[in-house]
């Protein structure tokens, strides 16, 4: 029984992290219908930036997190303005080829600067070890992860639901021509969303060094996971990808714990089943 709760808890923490990394992909795919397989590269940038800062400046891990967010966000903004923006009107095949090329370039760059090995961060003492709640041991760092993602999700929701910028994003997703024809700078809205999504991915990448690991193959290793979150959850929404990421996280951890020989097979079957049941995603407005 305790192992079931423990696995569920680990799965939720893992799913929260997947959501944090993938939510930006959901927003940008919903807005511009742009297939971005390179999203994980920005998570990796955040992760390495955080590791590099702790090593070079001695900054404590938690203090590097805002830098991971802004660093990856700026990298995303630059990549969108200089490169990706040119591909919005291109075919999906061109988008896939280009962004896969971007992934391999980012892998080579990470390899060149940081080597092939796994990276580590030292989390502060108060986030190490377990907290005993009602007879179950819960990892403190995973509790912290879940709390951070809950707060960020609330903040994101409020931004999209309550601010004028959020309404402009929704209007642009609903009808780009009408939004532009009424004065919304759809291109700028999209750039800012892309930057925000990349920043959140970078934050997720840094927070996830402990959980997901970090080496140059990161953007390739997790590509399928991020895509699953968006495809199953539905592009252009928050709720769908959140549910999808939590389901994915729990079943992946549970599968590997209880039936290790099946590996990732369980989640693929699950995701196919979910897609058959909800062809346009769990919470998306578009297929």
């Amino acid at each position: 029984m305790t192992s079931v709760i423990g696995v569920l808890f680990d799965g939720l923490a893992y799913g929260s992290l997947l959501f944090l990394v993938a939510v930006g992909l959901s927003i940008t795919m919903g807005l511009m219908n742009f297939i971005n397989l390179a999203h994980g590269a920005f998570a990796m940038i955040g992760g390495y930036f955080s590791v590099w800062l702790t090593q070079k400046t001695g900054l404590p891990f938690l203090a590097t997190l805002p830098f991971a967010f802004f660093g990856a966000g700026l990298a995303g903004l630059a990549a969108e303005r200089l490169l990706f923006q040119r591909l919005y009107k291109a075919s999906h095949l061109d988008q896939v080829l280009f962004t896969v090329g971007f992934v391999f370039s980012s892998i080579a760059a990470a390899h060149y600067f940081f080597g092939a090995g796994q990276q580590f961060v030292s989390t502060p003492g108060f986030l190490q070890g377990q907290l005993r709640v009602a007879g179950v041991d819960l990892g403190k760092y995973r509790l912290f992860l879940i709390a951070v993602v809950i707060l960020l999700t609330i903040a994101l929701h409020l931004m999209f639901a309550k601010t004028r910028f959020g309404a402009q994003v929704r209007a642009s997703v609903d009808n780009q021509d009408a939004a532009a024809g009424l004065g919304v700078n759809v291109g700028l809205v999209f750039s800012l969303c892309f930057a925000l999504g990349s920043g959140l991915a970078g934050l997720g990448g840094a927070l996830g060094v402990e959980v997901l690991g970090l080496d140059p193959t990161f953007p390739l290793k997790y590509m399928v996971y991020f895509l699953l979150v968006v495809v199953v959850g539905g592009a252009g929404s928050l709720r769908g990808p959140l549910i999808a990421a939590l389901i994915l996280g729990v079943f992946d951890v549970a599968g590997k714990y209880f039936i290790p020989q099946a590996g990732a097979f369980i989640i693929y079957v699950l995701m196919i089943a979910l897609l058959l049941a909800f062809p346009s995603g769990l919470g998306g407005r578009r297929a």
Partner: protein, 234 residues
Amino acid sequence: MTDLLRVEALCAGYGQARVLDGISFAMKPGESLALLGRNGVGKSTLIRSLMGLTKRHSGSVFFGGADLSAASPTRRARAGLGWAPQERAMFPSLTVEEHLTTTARPGPWTLEKIYEVFPRLRERRLNMGDQLSGGEQQMVAIARALTTNPRLLLLDEPMEGLAPIIVQELAAVIGRLIREGGMAAIVVEQHARLALSMTERAMVLDRGRVVHESSSESLLRDSETLGRLVAVAA
């Protein structure tokens, strides 16, 4: 007075297809124009071309003294073109009130003023864009264009598909907007007589060309010409 809008030999369409075949006309500030013509002659294409949402093959569009021929829709809207599209283009994930605030710009048309003119929208302010009747959608489309505080209001068939009683009610409001609103307006209408009764000038299109220009009053009196150029319902 200098022209607010000047269109010169505009040829535009969708991709390779040319719909507008050399359109030229001009409007002064505050002036109102009825844009008439049978279905499919290019009225909406002209409006969309003013907004920069079609493919321009040649020709120019000047607005407020600036050359906007190659400008983005965003820039045109911000320059003072207020567009109420024929397909209404409601945003399903915005409330009525958000439709009226998200693209609003400073000027006399505040939310309060809009609610005074369209009291119905105050009642519906928390409805989403896809939870509205046809007449309400039309009001939101017009009101949304007004909140951008345009110098030129573009109304593309604002009465389309509405019940006669609602047409009368809305026509009264639009007529008042055009006379007292201080802004220029182009009104595209199938109800030719209605559009003529609320505007100063008239322009008729046929197959992408201007085939008639006159004062609205004289066209309204000339039933023979009107019947020849436009299918007149009533």
